[in-house]
Symmetry: D2
Subunit: 145 residues, 4 copies
Amino acid sequence: MTDIRPLKAQDEGDWRRLWADYLAFYETTRPDSVFRATFTRLLDAAEPMRGLVAVADGRVVGLAHLIFHRHCWSEGDTCYLQDLYVDQDMRGEGLGRKLIEACYAEADAAGAVTVYWMTQEFNYAARMLYDRVGVRTPFIKYQRP
Amino acid sequence: MTDIRPLKAQDEGDWRRLWADYLAFYETTRPDSVFRATFTRLLDAAEPMRGLVAVADGRVVGLAHLIFHRHCWSEGDTCYLQDLYVDQDMRGEGLGRKLIEACYAEADAAGAVTVYWMTQEFNYAARMLYDRVGVRTPFIKYQRP
Amino acid sequence: MTDIRPLKAQDEGDWRRLWADYLAFYETTRPDSVFRATFTRLLDAAEPMRGLVAVADGRVVGLAHLIFHRHCWSEGDTCYLQDLYVDQDMRGEGLGRKLIEACYAEADAAGAVTVYWMTQEFNYAARMLYDRVGVRTPFIKYQRP
Amino acid sequence: MTDIRPLKAQDEGDWRRLWADYLAFYETTRPDSVFRATFTRLLDAAEPMRGLVAVADGRVVGLAHLIFHRHCWSEGDTCYLQDLYVDQDMRGEGLGRKLIEACYAEADAAGAVTVYWMTQEFNYAARMLYDRVGVRTPFIKYQRP
């Protein structure tokens, strides 16, 4: 039995473990202050952020972080799916797709004009899923050096 | 004599012309309600948006739109450079670079952790500039269908 | 027990089946005249082509086609790995890697300066292997309209 | 007055200069033995190679190197446009396009099924031309480490 539900205060331990694993995939870590700030914000209704978790047999095994922000091309905000992660040993169960679909529902509920995300060109496993639930755009990301 | 300065209320006519040209480059248009909302927000200090214009010999010939938003990986906001445009007949004068550098200064003033933007993979003219003032990341953009 | 060995005349039936499957992956077919010409050439020592097959438990379950050709940048020829295929139900056994390594050995035996191949940017399954046994170059392919 | 014509023995000095400049663009050089072998082969009717040069006001200012080779998917050979170069100070005169169109004519005369070439993803100046005279394919190049 799997389920997608909003992140809750009591998920902190599971969330910390999953998000650390996600950051490790990107070969990075973050100080505890960032873990605290982000977790607090994800639970704060006044913040333009939402957290979702995937639960399988009572265990929290996946997460998605949404950020709503202004968009010059529309009156409504857009929704940026910044982080998405499913436990290594729970891959292939459709949880990634369910998390993304739940993000779409969150975005609809918030009136966001669209949902977008970014992935490394060579993240083949992720792209296999993204090609099915989303659309690849021709946009590539640049950043300040 | 060229200069980069914040967008002002009296720039509305020039801004509308330039932004319409920019949108036309992307083969799109926006209703007047979006022009009004975006212009108003770019001038509103309470909004997480900033507008910059490039001025050459007293004429407004370029624009840049910044959006500040939350970032799960840091306590501070990030800065998204969503729109950048220089009048067709003013290209090659270094105004694009000056606009981006002014965005970096705005981001610094606002305490943003970085500045990022997206461009179409085949926008060669833009990428020639971006490769000099920014760093290409391996990230590509997906969106909801 | 798996083995990689040169294509032989008696493989024609198996080879036709595998190569048709491979072409079907690219959503194409070829007339019988091309099947005949290519099979004949792959067996003809006077042609700059080589065929290899993967054999598992006596069954031919994979193929690789090599083409040697001039290269302006070197005195020796280069080796183009044009076709590579492993039966759908034999994937994940390392046969693709073994075929590529056998191609490298063929290229060495022929004195080829390198081995190269091309793959669709979105062929994730293939690229997972290619990233391990080869090097992605920044080159993309254009062709006559 | 510009013209595209086959490479001739008396072009050797000009050809060496242009090809060295082309190789320098790719941050490489080649020993004299390769210059000699390639020039000789380009002039040798028995070799599956052709050289073309662009001439402007009597000066040799551009080159194109073609290699014909087998193709498993067709009975006829294909044509690989390996090298293409126009003198730095002669860019923007349409010589690159004329060289490519002359390659198409050569390929037709030789019965080649198509013409293809490869370019670095970030070679914007070249791609601006290639997008007009050719078609970008989704194929990317891998090579032996």
